[in-house]
């Protein structure tokens, strides 16, 4: 099927088309996302993603909030990468004000980000399995994710929206049990991750449904602005942790997972392998957390000097960019988030058109969309 631009589709829409709304309330969109799809029998003619159902105007709200307050809004974008979102704003503020955070903070931030990445991929795996019709996957994924959430809960009291990383360091020091429990988790999960493979990876039905489905070349991935696992599945080396190391990523040894196939299977495998890599990163850092303060000395009111600043981090879903224009106030003049899911979403028509309706679900599952991150 040749590629069709969204605008062409909207004008080419005819009255006789069999149009179905998938969403905004649908079990497989994992939130209030809406796909308008046109069907010919089981075949998809085109897919138009409609977003904005939970647009909260976070970027506009940020203009009225101080930088420590903005942290709490960033949690609510990609709620499965809360730490990374917090970290992005914190890094930007630290860069702009020229504050050097203690080594301890950098280590802890990296460990937390990787734990968060594992947790996010576990939930993705669970939901992806469910999208493909394997309901048991959901419980296996959530069973192991619970262990990470327990670690989070013990250290900073919340399981989903942490607001733990703040400009200058951390809200408070980690719990004394943190290191012990994280090590226990890694030991536990190294045994349990092969179970994930047993349930889904080698399954003949799963392979038939994913291999060669929704293929995207490297050039297309770049032109669509794909980042994160979907980009790396198309052999596009876009890992910010490697390209522009921040926190303690320059001190650890890990591999950037790249696949050349660019299909649903590759996107699946990238995330499965990333879980192993994340565990490797945590293992390198967890025993070496230096002693010291959990926060740098910050001014009571943080003002960014006049100018434009940006910072990018790698969340579980791709590249998150934060862009701030400051007029020297305690609040930003303008703020913009370049969220990974927004770019990843609009490749849907390219990937799904011409395939079956069941493939739409598999492809959107493999992109791992988090809807609040699209809408902000």
């Amino acid at each position: 099927m040749q590629e069709v631009e969204l605008q062409d589709i909207l004008t080419a829409r005819e009255d006789g088309d069999y149009i179905i709304n998938i969403g905004p309330q649908h079990p497989s969109t994992h939130g209030v996302l809406r796909f308008v799809v046109s069907l010919k029998g089981e075949m998809l003619e085109y897919v138009i993603p409609h977003c904005g159902y939970i647009h909260r105007g976070i970027e506009k709200m940020c203009e009225r909030l101080t930088y420590p307050q903005i942290i709490h809004l960033t949690d609510r974008m990609d709620y499965l990468s809360a730490h990374m979102n917090n970290e992005a704003v914190s890094l930007l503020v630290e860069k702009a004000t020229g504050v050097e955070v203690p080594e301890r903070v950098k280590y802890i931030r990296t460990i937390l980000s990787e734990l968060q990445r594992i947790q996010s991929h576990q939930l993705w795996w669970a939901a992806f399995g469910m999208d493909m019709g394997g309901l048991t996957c959901f419980f296996y994924g959530l069973r192991d994710r619970e262990k990470i959430l327990d670690i989070f809960e013990e250290s900073f009291g919340s399981r989903l929206l942490h607001s733990y990383i703040c400009p200058g360091g951390l809200m408070n020091d980690i719990h004394p049990n943190f290191q012990k429990r994280t090590k226990e988790f890694i030991k536990y999960f190294r045994k349990k991750l092969p179970e994930f493979d047993e349930l889904l990876t080698g399954n003949i039905i799963f392979e038939m449904r994913t291999k060669g489905m929704g293929v995207l070349s490297k050039e297309e991935a770049i032109s669509y602005g794909l980042t994160g696992p979907p980009g790396r599945a198309s052999n596009f080396a876009c890992d910010i942790r490697k390209l522009y190391p921040y926190s303690a990523y320059d001190k650890v040894d890990f591999k950037e997972i790249l696949y050349t196939e660019g299909d649903t299977w590759a996107r699946y495998k990238v995330r499965m392998d990333e879980m192993w890599e994340s565990m490797k990163i945590i293992e390198q850092l967890i025993d070496n957390i230096p002693e010291g303060d959990f926060t740098a000395k910050m001014k009571p009111v943080i003002r960014l000097p006049e100018g434009e600043y940006s910072q990018r981090v790698e969340t579980a879903r791709g590249e998150l960019g934060v862009y701030v224009v400051s007029k020297g106030e305690k609040t930003p003049y303008r703020m913009h988030f370049r969220t990974p899911n927004f770019s990843n979403l609009f490749v849907m028509n390219r990937l799904a058109a011409g395939n079956k309706i069941a493939d739409l679900i598999a492809i959107s599952g493999s992109l791992d969309l988090v809807i609040p991150d699209i809408d902000r």
Partner: protein
């Protein structure tokens, strides 16, 4: 009244004679019909409810969960509580739905499974009707159910429902062939379509053992095809809740939904009993060659337990598929049937005919 757990024909004959002695033949006949009807209806309801319970427990076992455990001991009354809830729910008919067809559809589904259950031999002498074309009857009746599904999808005035129904139509019609051919293999072996005769023919060994490898192939094909025919995972494309929300019964609520639900579980029971009857010897105990002691011990277990044991075993297999496999896509589903199962089945039938002709199977 004579009662023998190993042979119910004495009991049923005694009831028959008692009724005909007490009243006019017409009334005796009507009373018999009523008794049989009520017993089957009650049996149907109890089996249906406890199958749902069984499925939830098995599913919980597969998923590291406990399952229902609040209502009654081990949650035994959970499904009954669910039924009461469903009975009290509002019946929603959406606008512009075809009211007549919409209301009739759940009954067609449930009546189809209800009719099929009448021909199943539960134990020696324990079946409502014993047709001489029992296998054919089961096939015919169970395929009525798909009409209910198609009507439900068509009359709902919902696009999701329509897609679900069309998928279901394509799927059931294709897989019926494989189910029929797989059953045909045992009909060739036993030389009869009567279910009771098929069971009797397995007194010295079940067909799955007596029929060499072709019978095993038939059994596996039957399991796959019948799982597809009753719309259960991994072939649950008609419902496919991650794609079509709930497929053909998206717009149904309350007891109408419960009918579809119950119908699905009863179909599973029927398919499992059919597999147990034709391949695993029905209510016949397991006998191994000339091991007299072993055979005696096996004979000691009443046939009704043998029957339910085998049926539950096959139902467990079907549940196992559902909870561990991802769903197929519609084209893969039809490819599996037309390109693999059907040709294998046809060749298999040919081989079986040859084996029977030469008398090579274990008699």
């Amino acid at each position: 009244m004579p009662f023998n757990i190993y042979d119910f024909s004495g009991t049923t004959k005694a009831i028959d004679q008692f009724l005909y002695a007490k009243m006019a033949p017409t009334w005796a006949f009507i009373t018999e019909l009523a008794i049989v009807g009520i017993i089957i209806l009650l049996f149907y309801a109890v089996i249906g409810l406890y199958l749902v319970y069984l499925e939830r427990k098995v599913c919980a076992f597969m998923q590291n969960r406990v399952g229902p455990n609040r209502v009654g001991k081990w949650g035994l009354f959970q499904t009954i509580a669910d039924l009461i809830k469903l009975l009290m729910k509002e019946l929603i008919t959406i606008r512009k739905a075809d009211k007549l067809l919409f209301n009739v559809a759940p009954f067609i589904v449930i009546i189809a499974s209800f009719m099929a259950i009448a021909a199943i031999p539960f134990a020696k002498g324990l079946h409502a009707v014993d047709f001489n074309i029992g296998v054919f009857y089961m096939m015919a009746v169970s395929s009525i159910g798909v009409i209910g599904i198609l009507l439900a999808g068509w009359s709902s005035n919902s696009k999701y429902s329509l897609i679900g129904a069309m998928r279901s139509g394509a799927q059931v019609v294709s897989y019926e062939l494989s189910v029929g051919l797989a059953l045909l293999s045992v009909v060739i072996f036993s030389g009869s379509m009567q279910l009771s005769t098929i069971v009797e023919s397995q007194a010295n060994g079940w067909w799955i053992f007596k029929g060499h490898i072709p019978a095993i192939i038939s059994f596996i094909i039957f399991l796959i095809a019948s799982t597809a025919e009753i719309n259960r995972g991994p072939f649950d494309l008609a419902e496919a809740e991650s794609e079509l929300t709930a497929g053909f019964h998206t717009e149904y609520s309350g007891i109408r939904f419960a009918f579809f639900f119950l119908g699905e579980y009863m179909n599973m029971f029927i398919v499992a009993s059919l597999a147990a009857t034709v391949f695993l010897g029905g209510w016949m105990p397991l006998h191994i060659g000339n091991l007299q002691g072993f055979n005696h011990v096996m004979d000691f277990i009443p046939p009704i337990f043998w029957y339910f044991g085998k049926t539950i075993f096959i139902m467990y297999l079907i549940m196992w598929f559902k909870w561990t496999f991802p769903r197929l896509r519609i084209d893969q589903l039809l490819t599996l049937e037309w390109k693999y199962l059907l040709p294998i089945n046809l060749v298999n039938i040919l081989i079986i005919s040859f084996i029977v002709l030469m008398g090579w199977y274990i008699k």
